[in-house]
């Protein structure tokens, strides 16, 4: 009887340990990224060789409305989307970096009564063995103040940092808006 109890305890301990081990190993494979993409965006008109606008580059008539800004400079922005798949314990993306923009932030969009509200978030939580889709109208990696044009076919490198301290390098192709 006692032997059985010991055996059962041992089995539980072993299971618990195995559980730990399993967590550890999947942790290294924790969050992975699927189907990343970045929305195409233009930095400067002169660089736009899309042809559709033809001579638009030369003339930028601003008719006295060029300077609405009070130090809030206009800058091109874009967003990156992807699916975060988590094979391990609950984790989160807490930071995103890229050389493509001056600021790279984690954002979400909330829709309330058909009013769109975009907000910066501290983290994008990814549940254990679950996934989160970054998509238009929802979570996204916001690229603010683009350093260059994002043209279809280009590739943008984004580095994500997880709460567990891992970094994930994402190569996201640029797609048409």
């Amino acid at each position: 009887m006692r032997r059985i109890a010991i055996f059962i305890t041992a089995a539980f301990v072993a299971l618990a340990l195995a559980g730990c081990g399993a967590n550890q190993t999947t942790q290294t494979g924790g969050i992975t990224v699927r189907d990343p993409w970045v929305r195409a965006a233009m930095m400067n008109v002169a660089g736009d060789q899309s042809g559709a606008m033809g001579n638009m580059g030369q003339s930028t008539p601003m008719a006295g409305m060029s300077d609405h800004g009070h130090g809030s400079e206009s800058s091109a922005v874009s967003a990156a989307y992807m699916v975060l798949v988590n094979n391990g314990a609950a984790d989160a993306i807490v930071k995103a970096e890229s050389d493509v923009a001056k600021s790279v932030e984690l954002h979400n969009v909330i829709m309330e009564n058909n009013v769109m509200q975009m907000r910066q978030v501290e983290a994008i939580e990814v549940p254990a063995n679950g996934q989160v889709e970054l998509k238009p109208g929802s979570f996204h990696v916001m690229l603010i103040g683009l350093n260059r044009d994002l043209k279809e076919g280009d590739e943008v490198t984004i580095t994500l940092t997880t709460r567990s301290g891992k970094t994930i390098e994402v190569k996201a192709p640029v797609r048409k808006p």
Binding site: H70, S74, H107, V109, N114, M116, P136, G137, M142, I144
Partner: protein
């Protein structure tokens, strides 16, 4: 006996078919009664004065947004781009108009680049704050500036996501909620084009 029964069925089916032909059911929200769409005395991204009244005879599709909204606004404009593509030749009778909810940052230059990425015929309007605010009010558009203190954006604008349709006579006829399928919008626009109002 059977003949009479058959005839009554045929009559019924014919009546049903005819009523189906006559009344197209819009997929967007119909504004009843249709009222004249409030004027938008603003300036487009090329510096030209804009007047809705210059677009009589065309269907105008109106959307309120801003260029620093790279998420939802491009989705709506992308949908409108596809609407224009699907309309084919009919697209010549449709004008897409984007009204800024962020006059400070939506400079003509930025609007040009932003809209050209979708369709070079799209017009982006900006202007005096008071005129814009009147337009938001007239069209029932919610526009709330929100500071984002820790963001490189500085601030964002919460805004309504409807697309509005103004018919060939300048009447405000329909609105579509954000995320309405492109095919539904195409179908409604085609219906407006098929049955122009008395002008």
């Amino acid at each position: 006996m059977i003949q009479r029964w058959l005839i009554s069925i045929i009559v019924m089916i014919t009546a049903l078919a005819l009523s189906g032909c006559g009344a197209y059911e819009f997929r967007g929200t119909v504004l009843e009664p249709p009222n004249p769409a409030p004027e938008l005395p603003l300036t487009d991204q090329f510096g030209n004065a804009f007047q809705l009244s210059n677009y009589r005879g065309k269907v105008v599709l109106l959307f309120f947004g801003f260029t620093h909204c790279p998420d939802i606004c491009p989705t709506a404009l992308g949908d409108l781009k596809r609407v224009m593509e699907k309309l084919g030749n009919d697209a010549a009778n449709v004008q897409v108009v984007f009204v800024s909810v962020d006059p400070e940052r939506d400079t003509p230059d930025l609007m040009q680049r932003y809209l050209a990425a979708f369709n070079p015929t799209f017009l982006g309007l900006n202007g005096d704050r008071s005129v814009l605010e009147q337009a938001y009010k007239n069209y029932g558009v919610t526009v709330i500036r929100r500071d984002l203190p820790n963001s490189g954006l500085g601030y964002t604008i919460d805004h309504s996501g409807y697309i509005y349709a103004i018919d060939q006579a300048g009447n405000w006829r329909l609105l579509w909620a954000h995320g309405t399928p492109v095919d539904d919008i195409v179908s409604d626009v085609q219906a407006l084009l098929r049955n122009p109002p008395g002008m």
